[in-house]
């Protein structure tokens, strides 16, 4: 039992000889004020009031919480309005019942099925994209080509400053690290080979691909996810237009065209960054340029270029795919943007590893 002053909410329990509990409540029950604590175990509970003053929802909520496990509490002594408020919470039928709480095994199964269907959806989207390009090539697809210049500008031209900054710093960092090691064997001149080859063959494409994931994939996922949310994608379907063809193809094409160009740009800027470091030491500009040009064969340059086309495609596709399958809520759009970046970067690194194996096998 807990009882303080008359104006405060209080509750008292008494157990009768036959095991029934009599719960008496009184005082003023207001949300935000201290509510009493009672604990009882019984099959039969009768509730009555004694000096009950004003009350708001906190009283029926308190009674609802305490009487939930009792099959049919006796509320007949309560004021009619309070009875009605308590009973209402018990009697409103749940017409669209939610699924019962799932067990561990069920959750594991659901996760497996969801993962499977997620990969299935991804493959389906790749299929739609490939088919879309094929149909576009044959002039049968409805594609919003008006978007292409805008997307090329957004994914390409607008990305130039960030690509320049990161490319320059990457070349600079590689040159610093390389110089420390090469000085030990007296081969500082090879720092140009290191920077030029690494940028042309590996870092230019990889870095530009990652930048594309960070800024373009997420933008695509947000745009297409929002279109899902506002049913614009449904409207396209209703008009007989395939949203993948209409929306994704120009975006994917734009990024696949622009990332290789950005990658070449990043390579040159990276080599320049390396030059700043190398030429501040023993090397002359002539020596650095001669070594850099000698180091990068056409094969290496083309290898880097091919990679960047694929990385651009992956970055754009990841954004479009996650946008198309985004849940129809503000949260879903946010998730789509995050997962687009994660998916894009993961696939780019995997693709890079695959390229490394293939190029090694074919001695490229």
């Amino acid at each position: 039992m807990s009882q303080t002053s008359p104006s405060q909410a209080w509750a008292r329990t008494e157990v009768s000889a036959d095991g029934a509990v009599l719960l008496t409540i009184g005082g003023a029950w207001k949300s935000g004020s201290a509510l009493p604590e009672v604990a009882f175990r019984a099959d039969r509970v009768a509730v009555r009031t004694e000096g009950l003053e004003d009350f708001d929802s906190c009283l029926p909520a308190w009674l609802h919480a305490h009487l939930r496990s009792i099959r049919s509490p006796d509320l007949s002594s309560l004021p009619l309005r309070l009875q009605s408020l308590v009973r209402m919470a018990e009697t409103v039928a749940v017409t669209e019942t939610a699924n019962a709480e799932a067990g561990l095994l069920e959750n594991l199964g659901a996760w497996g099925a969801e993962s499977g269907s997620s990969w299935g959806r991804a493959l389906e989207h790749i299929g739609h994209t490939a088919l879309g390009f094929l149909r576009a090539g044959l002039g049968r697809a409805r594609v919003n080509w008006n978007e292409l210049p805008l997307q090329m500008q957004t994914a390409g031209v607008d990305a130039l400053p960030i690509v320049a900054l990161l490319g320059f710093l990457t070349g600079l960092i590689m040159a610093y690290v390389g110089l420390i090691q090469l000085k030990q064997v007296g081969a500082t001149v090879y720092v140009a080979n290191l920077v030029a080859l690494a940028m042309a063959r590996e870092m230019g494409a990889l870095m530009t691909g990652v930048i594309a994931c960070g800024r373009t994939s997420t933008a695509f996922a947000s745009q297409l996810g929002s279109m899902n949310l506002s049913q614009e994608s449904d409207a396209l379907r209703a008009l007989g237009i395939n949203p993948v063809e209409f929306l994704a193809l120009p975006r994917i094409l734009a990024v696949s065209l622009m990332v290789p160009l950005l990658s070449v740009f990043a390579t040159f800027v990276g080599v320049l960054g390396g030059m700043v470091v190398a030429c501040s030491g023993d090397l002359s500009v002539d020596q650095y340029v001669t070594q850099a040009v000698k180091a990068v064969s056409w094969k290496s340059f083309v290898a880097g270029f091919i990679k960047s086309v694929v990385f651009g495609f992956i970055a754009a596709w990841a954004g479009c795919y996650r946008g198309h399958v985004a849940r129809r809520s503000a949260l879903g759009v946010g998730e789509a943007a995050t997962s687009a970046a994660v998916l894009g970067i993961t696939l780019i690194v995997i693709a890079d590893a695959v390229f490394a194996v293939i190029f090694n096998l074919y001695d490229i």
Partner: protein, 238 residues
């Protein structure tokens, strides 16, 4: 009364007693939702005033207006549940912000309000995981979170099938009965209006004025309100 500073309705005058349900009726675009926003103090009328709970909401400070808004509950047409929060968290939000009870009581109140609307088993679901009907009921639970004195419902039956809409009407009546809440409801669903409303305001797009203020049954016969009668006949048949 208007939108974006432009008057679209004028001559709207009525009074509503506590505990009554008022339906604001009229064709699409007649300004029903705008009237509700003006009545509730969410928007200001272009001219005139709106007295609610004894206060002229057009002439109070922002702080006073916010305090007045806390005594009101809103059910928006699109439910407007916060998509990143579960249903329980959606209902808990105003309770936590304005009542600040201990955590346990906060949960009790939220669970009780969700039980009232029959969502006791779906409290931990996100809005994206439930149906439109459930979202409406969850939004109603959130609107009831602070025991509002006046509840504003914008198209409570919109997008619901007739059966679910009828259940929603039943719920509205139960809420009025249990809490004694005054309810202002915007709707163009005539069956729903006939089931729930005590009084009806008919807004006419052609005249730009309030044509009638009467019990909804009055609009079922050709009397003093021919436009409202025509609207009711048309929508009742559909």
């Amino acid at each position: 009364m208007g939108h974006g500073g432009k008057a679209i309705m004028s001559g709207i005058t009525f009074a509503l007693k506590p505990g009554r349900i008022l339906a604001v009726v009229g064709p699409s675009g007649c300004g029903k939702s705008t009237l509700m926003r003006a009545l509730s103090g969410l928007d200001d009328p272009v001219s005139g005033s709106s007295r609610l709970l004894g206060r002229d909401l057009t002439s109070v400070s922002t702080e006073e207006r916010e305090q007045a808004l806390r005594r009101l509950g809103f059910l928006f047409q699109g439910s407007a549940l916060f998509s990143s929060l579960t249903l329980r968290e959606n209902v808990e939000l105003p309770i936590r912000e304005f009542l600040s009870p201990p955590r346990r009581e906060q949960r009790q109140l939220a669970e009780y309000k969700l039980s009232l609307v029959g969502l006791a088993d779906a409290m931990d679901k996100l809005p994206s995981e439930i149906s439109g009907g459930m979202a409406k009921r969850a939004a109603l639970a959130r609107a009831l979170a602070l025991d509002p004195e006046v509840l504003f419902l914008d198209e409570p039956g919109a997008g619901l099938d007739p059966l679910t809409a009828a259940r929603m009407d039943e719920l509205i009546l139960r809420v009025r009965e249990a809490f004694g809440t005054t309810i202002v409801m915007v709707s163009h669903e005539v069956p729903s209006i006939l089931r729930t409303a005590d009084f009806c305001v008919y807004l006419d797009t052609e005249t730009g004025r309030m044509e009638a203020y009467a019990p909804p049954r009055d609009f079922l016969s050709l009397g003093a309100h021919p436009r409202a009668y025509a609207f009711f006949q048309q929508n009742h048949r559909n």
